[in-house]
Amino acid sequence: MGDGSIVHMTRSEIEADVRAGVEAAVKRAKTPPLAEDEIEHLVDIYASPSRFTGVDIGAEVVLSYDGSGIGTFTSGLQDLQMYEQCFAADLVEQCHGDYSFKAVKTIVPYEAQRMRDAQLALTVPIQYGAMPNLGLYCRPDGPAPNWAELLPLGRFDEARAGQEEAVEFAVADMVNVGEALAEAGADGIDFDTAGASGDADFLATLRAAEVLRARYPEFGIEIGMAGEFVLGMHGELDYDGVRLAGLWPREQLRVATKAGAHMFGPAVNVNTGKTAAWNVARAVTLVKPCMEEATIPIHMNVGMGVGGVPMTSYNPVDAVSRASRACVDILRLDGL
């Protein structure tokens, strides 16, 4: 299930759930359904009683591990080395426990030094990751008016002005941190959970990416989304003439590419009350339009609570490996 609990189902029940997941995506995002052979393949993956599954030899993809250098039970550097040496990570990510650019800005010289030290000790590429987290810029945590309080009061203009003010602060922080880490030797930056606070959050990310791309032509810039749909907390913001509120993955990819991202991570949130088969079917149906027109690598978010992986910290490996294989097989992803 989407919450990680085990459930016993017949093949026909699994097929019914896969079809229902596809239908849910089609209805919600007005996207084309999966082909019959793709639905059959998903059913085969989820109806198998095996404990583990994987892609075909030769069809492997790049794995970018966000949050890998957080220092779960060792130091941050040891975490990175463990991911490189023990988990065979293709690239790793240094980050701070707070994982927000606003918080990181206050300690950025220390983070830059950690990056410099890590670069001496690791061979695989190391990116730096954090969240735009626009909500931290409004009161009481920040200086901008709190739009979440103003909106229910019907004070829409003030709520929009607060978000626009917060965007300027967030862009400055993200550029500041990005530059400091690039100058310390980082191979890239990951704007993780972009759009979590809505369209203004996404706009700030795109603008920061644009500045960093102009300054560092070969710097890895990854924009990973918070969800499948950009919420219109502001509603009137655009990027290069494209209204950001209401964008689905393909349209998110277009603006991310235009802003200079070299990797894009669509995210489709898990419904914990539905089965893993239903969730992965819905997720791949929503992301498939991205694959058809992408000119940059698509690293779909297939972690806890997104991309068909259950929302639990202690994920069953059968659920993770099925989601991993299903997304790669059906979508021909560039990475996860």
Binding site: F52, T53, G54, V55, I57, G58, E60, V61, V62, L63, S64, Y65, S68, T72, Y83, E84, Q85, F87, A88, A89, D90, L91, R116, Q119, L120, A121, L122, T123, V124, P125, A182, G185, A186, D187, G188, E218, F219, G220, E222, H262, M263, T295, I296, P297, G303, M304, V309, N315, P316, V317, V320, S321, S324, R325, V328, R332, L333, D334, G335, L336
Partner: protein, 116 residues
């Protein structure tokens, strides 16, 4: 931590520096290459086929020959292999990329010598 990195790595990962996953990742990050293009490019530089890039036995040999860094194991030691930052210098040459940490090292070394 067990389920996510280990399960994904075994199910669909290119194998990092056990194989050639880190090299393909670099082409995606630096040049925005899609997977097929990045695999083809890296395979050409290594003198192998794209299919070989996830083969840990073959890639371990090529990495050793080219000085690209290898995973440390308790059965074997590689005292003559390049260190991590040295290996990245070789990777930069192989892939035709500027790796910033390598450039920074070179900029900051031999200061007395370069200043006369």
């Amino acid at each position: 931590m067990f389920a996510m990195p280990v399960a994904h790595g075994c199910a669909s990962g290119l194998g990092g520096m056990r194989a050639a996953g880190d090299l393909v990742a670099r082409m995606q990050m630096a040049r925005g290459m899609r997977l097929g293009e990045a695999k083809t490019y890296v395979a050409e530089q290594l003198g192998v086929t794209p299919f070989d890039l996830s083969d840990p036995v073959l890639m371990n040999e090529r990495r050793g020959e080219l000085g690209l860094g290898r995973v440390t194991t308790f059965e074997l030691s590689h005292p003559d292999d390049p260190t991590a930052i040295e290996a990245k210098g070789n990777i930069a040459d192989l892939l035709g990329l500027e790796i910033r940490s390598v450039s920074l090292l070179e900029e900051r070394m031999h200061r007395r010598a370069t200043k006369g």
